[in-house]
Amino acid sequence: MIKVVQYINQFFANVGGEEMAHIPAEVREGVVGPGLAFKQAFGDEAEIVATIVCGDSYFNENLEEAKKVVLDMVKKYNPDLFIAGPAFNAGRYGVACGTIATAVKEELGIPSLTGMYKENPGADMFKNKIYMVSTKNSAAGMRDAVKKMAPLALKLAKGEKIGASIEEGYMPNGIRVNFFEKERGSKRAVDMLIKKLSGKEYVTEFPMPDFDRVDPNPAVKDITKAKIALVTSGGIVPKGNPDHIESSSASKYGEYDIDGVMDLTEATYETAHGGYDPVYANLDADRVLPVDILREFEKQGKIGSLHKYFYTTVGNGTAVKSSKGFAEEFSKKLKADGVDAVILTST
């Protein structure tokens, strides 16, 4: 029979709520709280030999010590499997579950599993390190959570092959596995399109990255006094592309001084972008980066000034993560230089 140790918090152990969140870790023999549902799901295949109960505040405030103590407790039972949680949307509990499940797997080499709601802060922190089942956001989803966690737990304990996240119910962990689809791509695409057109549910094979949202900045009070900077993903660079910005999947951005430049010409600027027909931008880069008009506006007093530098990269298959990194860096420079507003042009 598979031996299981489970980790739960003070609330699920029925010790108490927030007022008991300070209690240090303790071991109880056998099943406690949510363990009952797991016991039922496991049947004769596995037994929960011990349950570790720890206050959420205690664990998070004494992270290193709590981790060590809980690891020692787990080690004593030498289980075949470790389950932490499920934590649903309880933040400190989720972080504790992710921390301890990861430590048990990495330091003791024991298969481990946890579960929580996708927006629990522990999810992003640990879903790539440990199998983490996606649960509902409250304990009302316990039955659903156990239904997904128990079979996956048994598979892990037996060392069986774990299927894709969508089949097993764990959160995607960034690992890609090649496999052959039963149907060819053209058929799958048409099937998906028909489902979409007839308003039925379909599952994309290429999910878009999650783009964050930011609150709009307040309006610029007086644009005639404002310092405006130009930024582009259209790949405009000085002729010859001195920093060798890649024509696709760019790994860097350029910062170029346009002090005194009144007009971008064929002789002085070009595009490094490999994802659109470069003829028009190479003949006149103002078509992508409107330096000529902003100089005119500057002269006429319609804007305060055009910032001395522009920032540029190639937005062609460039990773969202890279773009974010570029912008984080040059936005700091723009702020430090007292820029009031940015015009970002894209091709």
Binding site: V214, P216, I223, P278, A281, I303, I343, S346
Partner: protein, 65 residues
């Protein structure tokens, strides 16, 4: 603020002030026109961008005019 031709992409990535432009390879120009006509178009679009920057918005806003 974001000047781009494919407005749905701009909306997807989360830009808050958006000015739609002419075409992917020449967002702020039109090579079929004379240089002066092209500058007129560009002047108009950049003017609209400045107006967008001066306008309070509460969420994603496309400045069509």
């Amino acid at each position: 603020m974001h000047m781009c031709t494919v407005v749905p992409i701009s909306l997807t990535v989360g830009a808050n002030r958006i000015v739609p432009t002419i075409a992917i390879p020449h967002p702020l120009g039109n090579p079929t026109l004379t240089l002066e006509e092209e500058r007129d178009i560009r002047r108009n679009l950049v003017g609209r961008a400045l107006r967008a920057l001066e306008t309070e918005v509460t969420g994603q806003t496309v400045f069509e005019k």
